[in-house]
Amino acid sequence: MPSIPDVIFYILVFLSVYVQVFFFVTFLENRKKIITRNEKVKLASYPEVTIAVPSFNEENTIEKTVWSLLRLNYPKDKLKIFLIDDGSTDNTWKIISKFASHSNINIFHKENGGKFTALNLALENLKTDFFGCLDADSFVDSESLVRIMSYFEKDSLTMAVAPSVTVNNPKNIIQNAQKAEYSMGVYFKKMLGFLGAINVTPGPLTIFRRKVFDDLGPYRHGHNTEDMEIAYRMQKNNYKIEHCNDAYVYTNTPATTRKLYKQRLRWVYGFINNTIDYRDVVFRKKYGNFALFTLPMGIISILSVGYLFGRIVYNLGDFLYSKIMEFQLIGLDFQTEKLILDPFFINTRSFIFLIVLIYLLIIFAIIFGRKMTKEKNIFSLNILYFFPVFSLLAPFWLLKAIYNTIVRRKPAWR
C-alpha cells in the first residue's frame, strides 16, 4: 500500500503535468495565431490614449521612462502622458517638473497614498477613451503602443491588452534567472490570453478601454497588487483581456535576493488574498477558464511548491540525521564513500519521468517565450540560473505569503 504522503505527492505531480499539458495543447491549437510583427503597424484610426506614470522615489529611472514614452510611434496629439509624483522624498518631482513644458504631458503631485491612489488621480483627470499605466521603472519599445492598439481595432469586445514584459539589461544571476522567468511568463500569458483567462494586467503598459473603469469603478488597493485585482474584477464581469506578444516593455528587476523576495512575497500574497476575495469565482463555469484553470492552477502551484519543499526539508533532515548517526558509529570513513557509477542505481520510479517531462515543457515555454519576444539568443543559458534560483527561493516567499495570510486574516474571522 502506498503511504498517504506518496499519494498526495502523486496527485500533485498529476495536476502539475495536467497544467503543463493544458498549456501545450492550447499552444498546439493556437500556434498559427501567434504573430510577431516586424514591420510598422498602421491603424485605420488612432484613438486618443492616456498613459499615466505613477512614481514614488524613482529619480534614477523616471526620466528614461518618460523619454521612452515620448519616442513612441504614435501621433503626438493622440497621446497624453500623466506624470504623477506620489509624495516622493527624493528628486522625482524635480525631474518630472522638467517635462511640464511638453504640450502632451500633465504633471501631478500628491501626498503619498500608494500606487492605486496615484492611478485613481489619473482616472479622475482622464478625458480619453483609452487608459494605460506605465511603471516608472520600465521602458517601452517605440512600436509597443500601436501594436497594442491594433488589438482593440481588431475586436471591439477587447477591454484590455497586456504587453510582453521582459527584463531590462540583466546583470547578475538573480536578474538573469528572472529574464528566463519573464520569457516563460510571456508564453504562459499568451496562452492564458487565448483561453480568456489572464489574471494580471501588468503595471508596465497594459492599456484599458475607459469603459472598464466607468463600469467597474476605479483601482482598489488589492493587497498591494492593484494590477491583479482589476484583472480579477474584469474576469468576474466577463471583460475580455488580450495579450499582445509583440508589444515589448522592458522593466528593471530586483538585483538582490532580498529585493526579489520582497517583490515576490507581495505578488504571491496578492494572489492568495485576491483569490480569497474572489473565492466565489473559483470553479464557477460561468467565469470560464479563469475560474476553472487559472485560479486552480495558481492554487495547485502554491500547494505543490509548499508540499515539495516540506518533503525536501524532511528528506534533507533525515539524510543529515543519518549522516550524523553514521559519524557517531564509524567516524569519518572515506573508504565507504565510494562513488557509485553503476547505472543500476539510477532511480527509475515513475515520477522521475513525469518530473523530467514537466521540466522539458517549462524549457519549451521559456524558449518559445524568447522566440515570441524576438530575443537574439533563444537558447541563452540563463535557463541554467532560472531553475536553481527559483527552486531555492520560491518556497520561502510562498510559505511566508501563506503565513502572512493566516496571521493577518485571523482577527477578521473572529
Binding site: 498529476f14 469586445l157 477558464n289 527509475t348 517531462l357
Partner: protein, 227 residues
C-alpha cells in the same frame, strides 16, 4: 468572451495526462524488470561459480590446495547484496525481489560452507561473520550494525560477512537460525567463530574480535604442520 468553456479540451488533456502517467508507470516497470534481469544474471553467474568451485574442490580434495581457486564471494556476492537491498527499497518488496533474496541467502550459505571447508583444509586466511537482521519491522539497530559491517568489510577485504534477513522464508535460513538459536527478539545478531553475539555491537568491539579471529585461523595450519 469568457464563456467559451471547452469541456472537450479539459477531458482530452485529462486523457493525455493519464496516458503520460501510465507511460511513466510502464517505463518504470520496464526498467525495474531490466534490473531484476540483471540481478538474475549476476546470481546465475555466482551459482555457476560456486558449483564449479565445489566440483573442483571435490575433484581435487585428495590433491594439493594450490590448485583450488578462491571462493567467489568477495566482490560479486557483495555487489549482488547491495543491489538487492537497493531494489527492495526502490522497486518495492515484489515477489521477484523476495525470490531473488531467497536465492541470494542460499548462495551465501553455500559459499560459507565451501569457503569454510577450503579454509579448514588448506589454511587460507579468512574470517567469517554471519549476520542476522530483520526488515519486517523497523530495526534501527540493524541499520546501524549493517553500516558497521560494511565499514569492516571494506577495511578487511578478507572478511566475509554473510547477511540473512530473519524474515526470509527459506528452510536453509531457518535451519541456520535454529543451529545458532537466534530469536527475533535479539536482532541484530552476529555469529563470529561459532560464538553468538546478540544485540548491537560497536565498531571497536567487532574489530577486536575480528583481529582475534584472524589470528586464530592463521595459527591453526602452523600447529598442524608441527604435528
Amino acid at each position: 468572451m469568457n464563456n467559451n468553456l471547452d469541456w472537450k479540451k479539459y477531458l482530452i488533456v485529462f486523457l493525455i495526462t493519464t496516458g503520460l502517467f501510465l507511460t511513466a508507470v510502464y517505463l518504470s516497470n520496464y526498467f525495474g524488470d531490466k534490473k531484476i534481469d540483471q540481478l538474475k544474471t549476476i546470481q546465475d553467474k555466482i551459482a555457476i561459480d560456486i558449483l564449479s568451485s565445489e566440483t573442483q574442490f571435490s575433484l581435487l580434495s585428495e590433491l594439493s590446495c594450490k590448485n583450488i581457486s578462491d571462493s567467489v564471494f568477495s566482490s560479486e556476492l557483495g555487489e549482488l547484496g547491495n543491489k538487492l537491498e537497493w531494489s527492495q527499497e526502490n522497486l518495492g518488496a515484489t515477489e521477484e525481489v523476495s525470490y531473488l533474496k531467497k536465492y541470494y541467502s542460499l548462495l551465501q550459505i553455500k559459499d560459507y560452507l565451501l569457503t569454510k571447508k577450503i579454509s579448514a583444509r588448506c589454511g587460507t586466511k579468512s574470517a567469517f561473520i554471519l549476520y542476522f537482521y530483520t526488515t519486517a519491522e523497523n530495526c534501527t539497530l540493524c541499520e546501524d550494525e549493517s553500516l558497521i559491517l560494511s565499514t569492516l568489510r571494506s577495511k578487511y577485504p578478507e572478511l566475509r560477512v554473510y547477511s540473512f534477513d530473519y524474515s526470509t522464508d527459506l528452510s536453509a535460513v531457518t535451519s541456520m537460525l535454529q543451529i545458532y538459536k537466534i530469536k527475533d527478539t535479539v536482532l541484530p545478531a552476529l555469529v563470529i567463530d561459532d560464538e553468538v553475539l546478540s544485540g548491537f555491537h560497536s565498531l571497536e568491539d567487532l574489530e577486536a574480535r575480528i583481529k582475534e579471529s584472524f589470528k586464530l585461523q592463521e595459527a591453526k595450519p602452523s600447529e598442524a604442520n608441527k604435528k
